[in-house]
């Protein structure tokens, strides 16, 4: 005759579920808060520091949805760093290293941050060229 083994039912104590839940929440909160954000710092000079007459000597980068133009020449994205580095190499003062960035209105952020981070890596200082909106009141 075969003997059946008696099964022992082990249950976690019901009164401890609150403590278990509490410890689990603390664990996940600590895990979530420890993860730091990573990003790219960007220094934008204020508009007063960029003189109007200096702007003509600065490198100009135009960004559109599909193309990047450096000083009027269309440049491939993978050649942007090698194109910018020699242009910035001869410039010593921070004012000379200003790169004027002009974006088309439909330029996506992914394209913009890619180009501006390459300008930073090449040693340039990004300055935005924005079109000013002016309200004109026509007299009666």
């Amino acid at each position: 005759m075969r003997r059946r083994r008696r099964k022992v039912l082990v249950e976690p104590p019901a009164h401890a579920t609150g403590d278990i839940a509490f410890n689990l929440i603390v664990f996940f909160l600590v895990c979530a808060s420890v993860q730091p954000d990573s990003g790219r710092p960007q220094t934008l000079p204020s508009s007063e520091t960029v003189e109007e007459d200096k702007q003509t000597e600065n490198i100009e980068v135009a960004i559109s949805r599909s193309a990047v133009i450096v000083n009027g020449d269309v440049t491939a994205k993978n050649q942007l760093l090698s194109r910018l580095k020699p242009l910035l190499a001869g410039k010593s003062t921070p004012e000379d290293k200003v790169v004027v960035v002009k974006s088309d209105s439909d330029t996506p952020y992914a394209q913009w941050i890619f180009v501006t981070s390459i300008i930073d890596d090449a040693g340039g200082t990004v300055t935005l060229k924005l079109e000013e909106e002016r309200e004109v009141i026509i007299p009666d």
């Binding site: 909160l29 220094t43 974006s103």
Partner: protein, 134 residues
């Protein structure tokens, strides 16, 4: 004859301590979420050579619907510079970090005025992006 008053002992039931702590924690988590932007939906752009963003008290976010948020609260572009100035107060240079979280498909006509407003308020921009895998 002097009668002694019977003392009744009142104790917090130790059985319920876990539940009390759990409810307190939930309460504080919900409070913290009100000034947090973790519930907003956006996809970060991908860039290489990232650095640690450090600690910041101000976070500006543009979500996938191009809505603008300051510390988790929806705001308009016209009031953004003033609100950031208030948040930063008279914090010294180096402690004026503003985290910028922009959905990767957002167009320049939307995000450039935001960057300009942060710069105008004297904030140090840190773009929150993802490391590009090569």
């Amino acid at each position: 004859m002097k009668l002694t008053r019977r003392k009744t002992r009142a104790e917090v039931p130790s059985m319920a301590m876990g539940d009390i702590a759990f409810n307190l924690l939930i309460f504080f988590v919900i409070l913290a979420r009100a000034s947090d932007d973790s519930h907003l939906q956006w996809t970060p752009a991908k860039v290489s050579n990232l650095k640690n963003a450090g600690n910041a008290t101000v976070s500006v976010l543009i979500d996938k619907d191009s809505k603008l948020y300051l510390n988790g609260q929806q705001v308009g572009i016209a009031e953004l510079a003033n609100l950031i100035e208030v948040e930063l107060g008279d914090a010294p240079q180096g402690k004026r970090t503003v985290l910028v979280k922009i959905h990767s498909d957002t167009l320049a006509q939307r995000f450039e005025p935001v960057i300009e407003a942060i710069s105008e308020a004297g904030g140090d921009l840190v773009h929150i992006v993802e490391e590009e895998q090569e």
